[in-house]
Symmetry: C2
Subunit: 374 residues, 2 copies
């Protein structure tokens, strides 16, 4: 890794030109924000089990670090530990390597569909993707410093720098999840070093939880015997502990940190608005439920009046989405509203209407595409 | 019946004052149009199996007749018959009397929920109600004139008068439906003479079909060996023969007359927006499917993720809605989006999304109410 350096030019960090996504190698993505870069994947580009890097969505809370030098990078482990330590990338690469296939989804994916509207990046359906992340176990890294039994949370710090009064992007993960053998300090994504915009040279990988736990440009793990008081733990990424009416104000005492992901499906084929000849139509897509397995996906070709079980096919990995397919005969010219509805192994079912919440998180109602058969 | 006279003052026919609904004895209804009178029933007033007259919705295509005199009323039967005849109200009342309990629903009920929006009276959920209609069988009336075997349709004429270039409200019913023993020429509604605004002194009752077949102020039955060329048969009340995309233009050749009604349910209790104490909540309402029986109603208390079968209770009548009830324990303060979904005896199921069509007919997606448990 020594010598591998990624740099952002200042013009990219603050780009407002339409070419910004191109400069990140993301020219097929939808620009939801230019500074910081927030790019969404068009659903048609999500039709493969592994999402190619160039199609993988980008979520940044702050401008990315201006300079990323793997050779001089240090990951500091401190706080409630026996002996603070600073590890180089080479040292981390020498720890046992683990590869996790993980569906990463922004908590705000689908936010634009909530009514009443909610502030934030107005994601539609494509702030999600699946990649293989390789790295050391976060547990192995923490053990290098000797995390104490008093440790309750691991605070994660990063190299992106807030501007003005913006809070630093500091998050925490509970100790049990940090020590889980599938939680990583990752350096590779889809078999190559994680690219600059995805967190080079180190990224936390907290599988099955919403994407913002997987902190990019990771610089420090700080073991705490309490809750972090950082903005993004104390205030951000919290969800009501009870279902509230759309538009309702929610007391801080009735909010808790987001953990896991909602059960959800996404139809990746045919494309919404597709015009197809009469004949067999194959509906396909992916379903995921964070830490839970998908047990079934139902598809409706009649606007949700009746449902048929889809076939679950292809690779099955613990924290990755599952491919579903359902073929039907479209024998005459007609408009079809096709719906999908996933169920996970714990019996959670994707609802007809997503639960509104003040931050617009975890939108997960039935997916739908309308197609025309000619 | 002799001597029973109902009159509208011209001021009522063209009323634009907020008191117009009061003058029709409909002060609790929502005014959707003042001229002609189109009044909708608030859902909370639909919580009884039989809808009281004062709560029954009103749909008029044209200003109501200015004068209605039962004593001089004549129902003419002509066209493809052995001998045209004119019957008085007294003669019709002397024929065998039949009482039908019927759910009457405007084809455009729910039109306001279609997206894109559709022109017409912007009904929400309350252009529906159930009444007991008493009258002579239309078959017995037609037999008085000797309807011929060449008869294909029965054209129904009425006393309401179009203004300017408006087409007369003439409709037709196929001969088989006209001769069905449950199709009536009715004079009583809920045990009393049909009131002026509901079609005094005679109204066709075509059970299980959309309300506009049940022509008010009936003056003539004209047996035809072809299709009527009246506007409301040739152009109005037609529905696409195939599912079309929302907003699509539909060729006249791809349209057919509406028959029957869509399978549908309506939650009448608790009211949308109700705030209830924690404890047992009873969800109740009605489901109907025109000529078909209701076989089940499912209720969801979790936004459509899971469904439980409701109990079908109360009176069951062939063309009437069926009461459903489902109780659940709401143990903590929470917002509930409650959904209902009906299935009829032919296996038709209420869809998650209603089928858009150019006239906005037969809106029937899952019903929903949101309540707050405190």
């Amino acid at each position: 890794m020594a010598g591998l350096v990624a740099r952002f030019a200042p013009a990219d960090l603050f780009a407002q030109a339409p070419g910004a996504a191109q400069r990140f190698g993301k020219e097929k993505l939808l620009v939801r924000s230019l500074r910081p870069p927030d790019f969404e994947t068009p659903v048609a580009l999500l039709d493969s089990f592994i999402t190619p890097i160039e199609h993988f969505y980008v979520r940044s809370h702050l401008p990315a670090p201006a300079s990323l030098d793997a050779a001089s990078w240090a990951l500091k482990i401190g706080g409630e530990v026996d002996a603070p330590v600073s590890l180089s990338i080479d040292e981390i690469r020498k720890l046992p390597a683990v590869t996790i296939t993980m569906t990463l989804e922004c908590a705000g994916n689908g936010r634009s569909f909530f009514d009443p509207a909610v502030a934030g990046i107005q994601w539609e359906k494509g702030a999600v993707g699946t990649a293989r992340f390789t790295g050391a176990r976060m547990a192995d890294v923490l053990k290098r410093a000797g995390a104490k039994a008093t440790g309750k949370n691991v605070e994660m710090h990063a190299a992106d720098r807030p501007l003005g009064t913006m809070p630093a992007f500091v998050r925490q993960v509970p100790m049990a999840k940090a020590m889980h053998p599938d939680t990583l300090v990752a350096y590779d994504m889809n078999g190559q070093p994680i690219s600059a915009v995805h967190g080079f040279p180190l990224r936390a990988i907290v599988p099955g939880w919403e994407g913002a736990y997987s902190v990019k440009w990771l610089t420090a793990l700080n073991v705490l015997d309490k809750d972090s008081d950082s903005f993004w733990v104390a205030t951000g990424y919290r969800y009501p502990t009870r279902r509230v009416a759309p538009g309702a104000a929610v007391d801080a005492k009735d909010m808790a940190p987001l953990v896991g992901l909602a059960v959800k499906s996404l139809i990746t084929r045919p494309a919404a608005g597709a015009s197809l000849p009469a004949g067999q139509v194959t509906v396909a897509g992916f379903a995921w439920a964070g830490e839970n397995d998908i047990s079934k996906v139902d598809v409706s070709i009649d606007s949700g009046a009746t449902w048929q079980p889809a076939r679950l096919v292809g690779e099955q990995a613990k924290f990755a989405w599952r491919r579903f397919e359902h073929a039907f005969a479209a024998t005459k010219p007609e408009s079809y509203l096709i719906l999908s509805r996933a169920t996970d192994a714990k019996g959670n079912v994707q609802p007809a209407v997503a639960q509104w919440n003040p931050s617009g998180y975890l939108w997960n109602q039935y997916d739908s595409v309308r197609i025309e058969v000619k």
